[in-house]
Symmetry: C2
Subunit: 296 residues, 2 copies
């Protein structure tokens, strides 16, 4: 279970001390790895200098937990700079999404990964996130990229809700990639289904905030206890509903604020926190889930 923490920001800068404590909490909870500067970590909104500092703070606060750092940018030359900075900061791996402004072709995306892996000395996770990058990978392209040196894992979007179709999805991708490249599910509501369908990892937004319950779900799936994994996910359904409605980032930002982990207005503008009505609904859901959290 790789936990993706928020990067709390002020109007112009990063709240480094709040971020450091968020990361340290994850290390204390014993997550398997930490994904700093993922989409939930607002990497796309920060300057090179801010990202360099966030990577350093993450590695320091994470203790012995390995840290993966997001290096995506619209321009290849900037991706290469972020890769350098992440490695210099001590990242154990990097995470790269093919961000786009002009729609990208498959060849352009392949060459981006080829250019980056050619200079990399840590493993790379391919970040397949069509909701933010607006690029859709084919499994053939995944196969070509996964065969590049240093590619270690693919972070895929939500697997289908139907268990049989989820298994087919994972097996189809698996048939295109080298056997030592892992597949990790993202889209938290699909996590239990994805892990039970054969994904090796969960790249988790909620894990960056509530690591214990996410670890309990993951460990259940890993010890082949589908009933427990599914039942934990089902208990979290009211939260998954809010994720679907408002986006997981805005919801975890509101919860982190309610937990006192971050200040108000912690998202990079133009992104805004939830409006008051939605905030109250989040509070009610969190209250309702308190017994679930207490149990794990």
């Amino acid at each position: 279970m790789s936990a993706f923490p928020l990067t709390p920001v002020s109007e112009t800068d990063v709240d480094e001390s709040a971020f450091s404590e968020i990361v340290a909490r994850l290390d204390r909870a014993g997550v398997d790895s930490i994904g700093a500067l993922g989409s939930t970590g607002s990497y796309a909104y920060l300057t090179r200098e801010q990202r360099r500092r966030v990577a350093e703070v993450a590695v320091r606060a994470a203790g012995r937990t390995p840290v993966m750092v997001g290096i995506g940018a619209l321009r290849t030359v900037d991706v290469l700079r972020h890769a350098e900075d992440a490695q210099a900061a001590g990242a154990s791996a990097v995470l790269l999404a093919p961000m786009s402004y002009q729609p990208l072709t498959g060849e352009e995306v392949f060459d981006l990964y080829a250019d980056v892996t050619a200079t990399l000395s840590v493993p790379l996770v391919v970040y397949d996130n069509p909701g933010t990058t607006h690029f859709t990978f084919s499994d053939e392209l995944h196969g070509r990229i996964a065969a590049l040196p240093r590619v270690a894992s693919i972070k895929i979007p939500a697997t289908p809700a139907d268990p049989q179709r989820a298994r087919e999805r994972v097996e189809h991708l698996r048939s295109h990639i080298p056997s030592d490249v892992t597949i990790g599910v993202s889209g938290d509501p699909a996590a239990a289904g994805g892990l039970l369908a054969g994904c090796d990892a969960w790249y988790s937004v909620l894990g960056g905030l509530w690591p214990d319950v996410c670890l309990a779900l993951t460990r259940a799936a890993q010890r082949d206890d589908p009933a427990t994994a599914s039942s934990i996910s089902d208990e979290l359904a009211p939260l998954w509903k809010l994720f679907g409605e408002f986006g997981s980032l805005r919801v975890v930002s509101a919860i982190a604020e309610q937990m006192g982990l971050v200040g108000a207005a912690n998202l990079p503008k133009p992104l805004q926190g939830l409006p008051d009505g939605a905030r109250r609904r989040v509070e009610q859901v969190v209250e309702r889930l308190a017994p679930v959290l207490a149990r794990h």
Copy 2:
């Protein structure tokens, strides 16, 4: 007819002398305005410093032609910095698209325009380009934004091909915005239809490369000569087909290279120029259009 030039780049920098000549050509052709650092000008891929220099070069090379400068960025604080730089460089107007990584809500986009116009001393053009920003404006939201101070125009995506539906589209938007806010069509294949449907301007990609023929089309529409405007657009149909297939940016980049205006590999990586087969088709179309260009 507002002409949107390419910003030719090398691996890491901008080819300022090529850019300066591209802009000077547009001034000599007598375009109505120049849209520097639009999508065709690759604004989203350049650093603040590069954009500041491009804005300065554009204003200098444009002579007496007014220059509008693109100020879009993912983060509001960066948009404000680009707005400052553009004004300091002597821009006559700025152009702002609601770039997104996390999907934006209508309120977030409204507040972005409110924050930017509050500090602006030149007119602003709202850049509605769902193909690159992945944000879709409602006409109600256009109306609220258009009522903000300094908002002077809206650059809309292609109007419908059917003339009646194009008129309805323009009239519907017009009914939501103040009467002194103009509407300009983009999506070059729709330019003649959009102008004849009542748009006040054409924000033109091809105009940044072949200003004369685009001015001829525009002037015909302005003097209420729909037959001539449509027939010029029809003559350019083979080019519009290539725009649809490869994206207008890659096609004008290839033509500019063939014309000797820019060097090879003039797009910011990961964007790539056209592959060889497509390049030959572009050459053939340009050859076939030579008599059309000679006539205007």
